[in-house]
Symmetry: C2
Subunit: 232 residues, 2 copies
DNA sequence: TCCGACGCTTGATAAATATCAAGGATAGCC
DNA sequence: GGCTATCCTTGATATTTATCAAGCGTCGGA
């Protein structure tokens, strides 16, 4: 890795409490690479080789089965992916590809494990990151098992609205096809879901959504912090 | 905890590599309790107080939202639940109740965290358990996003069949209402799904299922080890 | 400027799944 | 034995979601 990138990486939650010498050793072995958009980084079924940390850009996690494909999640800075596979020394359960030009830190599995053993602060940070990812999937799973497609969309809009500062306008972070897959529906259905939400003050203009009646939208969506909050 | 139960607990994967004194301290603080069937152990939204380890019996994890309820998973010996909430010091995302009379080891959160800090072997065991739970949910999530209800049922039958020694007969481990919720469908739909599988050699007699044409069933189900294998 | 590719939308239809209502089997209990 | 509660199944129907096909708009390249 280039020394110019060191401070940036050092300040990430995952590494900031690490011992200096352990961090140096970890970084010595790691690669910080920039990938173009739409590039496949890993494929499900492959054995875990590197822990991936997204530094810039955005990475899509997706999975395939029976000829179908579904977006399982999106990783933005500063998030990791396939941490569980690395720790268990198992194969990847999901594939990953860049959505945009992205900078990714790649740390060989054996070095992650060595640092995990050697550095208590790193071990604790890893565990918190892992627990966070786990809880995120549980929430996704609750979302899809307990809500209809329209409720999922409504809640997602409310969530993005909050994330973006409650201005009455939401900018969709991904194209609609990706949004649809992430929400567990087809693109056609997403279009129709937006139409269904029109009476609740949801106006669509490309990737910009206006939310004109939060009260009505909240009434329909019934947001639940045990599903929609990302931080807890 | 009663001293009579000590060896049994000591031999669990989570504890067997622990230092003697650390194990003693942990066990000193823990409770081994037996609960009757259908008893609520924790409720989603409550702050994490104990790490739960199922020693005997069976515990159902479930969640509610918008007036709906869904079974999120089942924990059998020797599995833990709500480990992530304990480690993150957060609220539970799921509720839990016993399915049968069950023996559960309750370890106060602060003692788990202390042991995690003090004992490297315990920390590693915890991480492996957490990573395992995480991967299990990812698989559940893939199952529901990538398969139809009938495919989910077919694959579940194949999985139980393998677990039970491939005798051509499967004993359902839970009643059909619970199976339906676990598989993300209504009880009525489960009944119909069984009927749909009849031409594939699936014969239902109460909780006993005969699988008379594994080739046909496999052809329909297309099992995928990245979804159906529990160990990796 | 025109063209074509692409992403999105819409309509028509089909398939999957849920709901509501009723009926049967089974098991525990008096 | 008969009663009752519970669970499961079945049928009829409604709702939700997907599929297929076409059309519309935009954007970038020739």
């Amino acid at each position: 890795m280039r020394t110019a990138d060191l401070p940036e990486v050092r300040s990430l939650g995952l590494f900031e409490s690490m011992d200096e010498s352990n961090f140096d050793a970890l970084v010595q072995a790691a690669y910080l690479q920039t990938f173009p958009a739409q590039l496949d980084l890993i494929a499900e079924g492959d054995p875990a080789d590197f822990l991936h940390v997204v530094i810039e850009g955005c990475v899509e996690l997706y999975a395939r089965a029976n000829g179908r494909e579904s977006t399982m999640g999106m990783v933005r800075p500063v998030g990791t992916f396939i941490l569980a596979a690395v720790l268990k020394d198992a194969v990847y359960l999901m594939s990953a590809r860049t959505c945009q030009k992205s900078k990714v830190l790649l740390i060989p599995v054996e070095d992650v494990r060595r640092a995990f053993r050697a550095d208590e602060a790193f071990a604790r940070a890893i565990v918190l990151e892992l627990a966070g990812c786990y809880r995120a999937v549980v929430k996704e799973h609750k979302d899809i098992k307990l809500r209809t497609a329209i409720e999922r969309l409504a809640n997602r809009l409310i969530r993005y609205h909050r994330d973006q500062g409650e201005t009455g306008r939401v900018e969709l972070p991904y194209d609609k096809r990706t949004m649809a897959s992430l929400l567990g529906m087809t693109p056609e259905n997403l279009s129709r879901a937006f139409n269904t939400l029109k009476p609740y003050g949801v106006d669509v203009d490309g990737t910009t959504i206006r939310l004109n009646d939060m009260k009505a939208l909240n009434g329909l969506a019934k947001p639940n912090h045990l599903i929609d909050d990302r931080t807890t």
